[in-house]
Amino acid sequence: MSFPVFLLLFPLVIVPVIIHLISRKKLRKIDFPSLLFIVKSDARLIRWFRLKRIFLLIMRIGLIIALILAAANLKIPFAFVNPSETLIVDKSPSMDRTEIKNENTFIIPNKSGIPQFLQYLKKRPVGILITDAQRNGFIEILKEGERFPGINIKKIAFPKGNLGIIGASATPSFEEEKFILNFKILNEYTDKKKTSIILETEGRILKKESRILNVGENVLSFELYLRKGLYQLSLELEDKEGFVFDNRFYFVVNVQERKNICVLSDAYPERLISALSTFYFEVRWVKEVADVKGDFFFVCNANEKDELNLLQIAIPGILCLQGETNTPISNKIPDRISTIVGGSSLNNSLYLKNLSEIPVRYNCIITEGKTLMYFENGDPFISKIKNHLLLPISLEKNDLSLHPVFIPFLFSLINSLSEGKTCRNILLDEPLEIKSSTEPQIISPRGEKYKPYRIDEDNYIFKETKECGIYKITDGKTIIGLAAVNTHPSESKLESLSDEEIGYIFGSKGFVNGAVFFLFIALLFFVLSLFVERKM
């Protein structure tokens, strides 16, 4: 905060002038005949005597001015840093991962790296920023470079807009069946852009086509028919203006055999069976527990009588509880509406994320088993007992089954129960959770090998996802999973740098606080004047 009112004290600069004149008047005057010999004795010393008083006057005036300016706390241009000390290189994927190895180099991996970057900047003055300015904040800085006279901003490319893949989703994939892969692409140019799009897997081009992208968000859908197995997919955009951005997006998919599902219900669950049958499962309806067969079973509304029997079944299944019983597993709770907030590794699934934003009416609390997901109020939403999942909702009486994400959600649940191969799509620096009975090994896109950290008996976590690409998970011999690591969507969304970020990076809007600076200058003047006065 500045106090310009203190500038009214500027007339005080006359005080040292008056002192100077008085001291000169008070000076003893001696008429001397041999002045010539004084002058000849040491010309430099004589000059110094003459200048000393002028120096003192200047320094005293400077001291007063600096104190007034310090009191006024004016902002001064950020032109006092040494720009040669630090080289800052934006190493976001849009910079095509160019390595610049220098001990003074600091790299911004992506937006999530900004806090670390800011911590670094607090300790060192800012130097040269090399960036392709793939954020609106940088664009502003480039346009207003004069705001930061201490900063040498080197432009590599000046974008007129931006084109980036900001997300991907896929329907469940089954062998030799239609598998739909959706990519969300953001066009921030002011006009439509025509671009070539290449979808490939492990060097093999699956699709190559030319698309026109409208301004704003575009969804590109690809229909694929894949055999059973793990697939490493990547989508690449080619911009005809030669502008390189995060035009490569990685995606992994686990294509499985179609599963046979047995639905146990007193009445025919028409809605559920039609939803499940459309794409994903071979569905069979049974009325008796004894008739349950197949790869997986599903119970629409389990009551107290059925519950214990169902838990004895060997094949994995999902039990939707009616909540009308008072068993150790569930107790009677009035219907409530809550929101799912996540819990264990399941919450990273694309579909569960969407589901988590949906209010869910449930009517009992599961008090036993391992909780996989929670409601917002802390109540368990999904619990696991043996290889059975328990949901405290009645699908017959709940609208959840009508929700468009419910089937993908069920698919994720079924996958988690069947303990298939790990197949994850995550962001840079996001930890990768791995389920494995043996100690897994991670191979980075560059071929570097890592050992993940063991959490408990079968769970491991790997935190070093520092580069975009496909990470392979092996048991030492075979690949047991894949993880696609992509940049954060904010890299593409061109979010502006906040004022705080700009302030940290370049000083407070290109200026620094004047109080400390001018106090330092005042101290300097004071010490210098003492030195001059004492020396001679």
């Binding site: 000076l27 005057k29 001696i30 005949p33 002045l35 010999f37």
Partner: protein
């Protein structure tokens, strides 16, 4: 001798009295007669004429010849001295007694002493030009004229010894003794050159280099504004930090005069204004003895 201290004598108002006190005090201290070599010598007798003073009659000759004769003398000395007194502003420097006042008293004393010895004495007062010029006379009543001129003048103008002597030389035809009182604050080379010219013209030269003690030791204390007494230039200096360098320069200046005068046998006396006058007179007497 306490009486001959400059600061004591300065209290005596008239220069005449001051000069007499100095000379008499000085003579009292001498063991031999200052008149040595200065007496009058008999030339011839002449007949007495009416009106001649009776006490001048040579009675011994009257006893032998029974005629009145008077003795006729001829002055033995032919010394003509010219006192050159620098009255420039720089001579006005001095705390208790200025260099000019000291030099003036010294000049007056010498004039008195010289006239007592029947030498003729003249006076030149100068700064950058000749301000007063009184030709040499040997009558005692000439002293009054000399002292009157000395008393009237006070320091003014700039020093230019060489120019003044250059102007003066054509005016002095007779072989003379030049007694110069000055602080010689001028380029030593020029002064030495013109003095050498004087020596070449068979004149004798005595130089009294009048200095103040403070000029020599530069014993000022606090930072001060020093103003030149002649061209009014000023400098602010701390004398303590300059003292050593100043003294070196000033000693070089004095040495250049001393070394410059020595080969031509010019008598150079450095006189400091806190030194009693008789010392200066002794110097003079020694010189006069050599001349006689």
């Amino acid at each position: 001798m306490e009486l001959l201290k400059p600061e004591v004598l300065e209290k005596i108002r008239t220069l005449n009295l001051r000069a007499k006190i100095i000379v008499k005090g000085f003579l009292t201290g001498l063991h031999e007669s200052p008149y040595h070599g200065f007496s009058l010598e008999f030339k011839q007798h002449r007949p007495y004429y009416k009106g001649d003073p009776i006490n001048k009659i040579n009675w011994k000759l009257y006893a032998r010849t029974e005629r009145f004769y008077l003795k006729k003398y001829q002055a033995e000395t032919n010394l003509s001295a010219l006192l050159l007194l620098d009255k420039s502003n720089s001579m006005g420097f001095g705390e208790k007694i200025s260099k000019f006042h000291y030099a003036r008293t010294l000049a007056a004393s010498l004039a008195y002493l010289l006239l007592r010895q029947n030498d003729s004495v003249g006076l030149v007062l100068f700064d950058s030009k000749i301000e007063s010029f009184i030709p040499a006379r040997s009558q005692m009543n000439h002293l009054k004229h000399l002292l009157g001129t000395l008393s009237k003048n006070e320091p003014s103008g700039n020093t230019s010894v060489s120019d003044v002597i250059f102007q003066l030389l054509p005016l002095i035809k007779k072989r003379s003794l030049f007694i110069l009182f000055s602080d010689l604050l001028e380029e030593p080379g020029k002064v030495i050159k013109i003095i050498n010219v004087m020596k070449a013209k068979k004149h004798e030269v005595i130089v009294f280099h009048i200095l103040d003690r403070k000029e020599l030791d530069f014993s000022f204390q606090d930072e001060s504004l020093f103003r030149d007494m002649e061209d009014s230039k000023t400098v602010i200096v701390d004398p303590r930090s300059l003292k050593f360098l100043y003294k070196n320069k000033f000693n070089e200046f004095i040495s250049s005069y001393r070394n410059g005068f020595a080969p031509k046998r010019v008598d150079y006396f450095q006189v400091i204004t806190d030194v009693p006058y008789d010392k200066a007179l002794t110097e003079y007497l020694e010189k006069r003895k050599r001349l006689s």
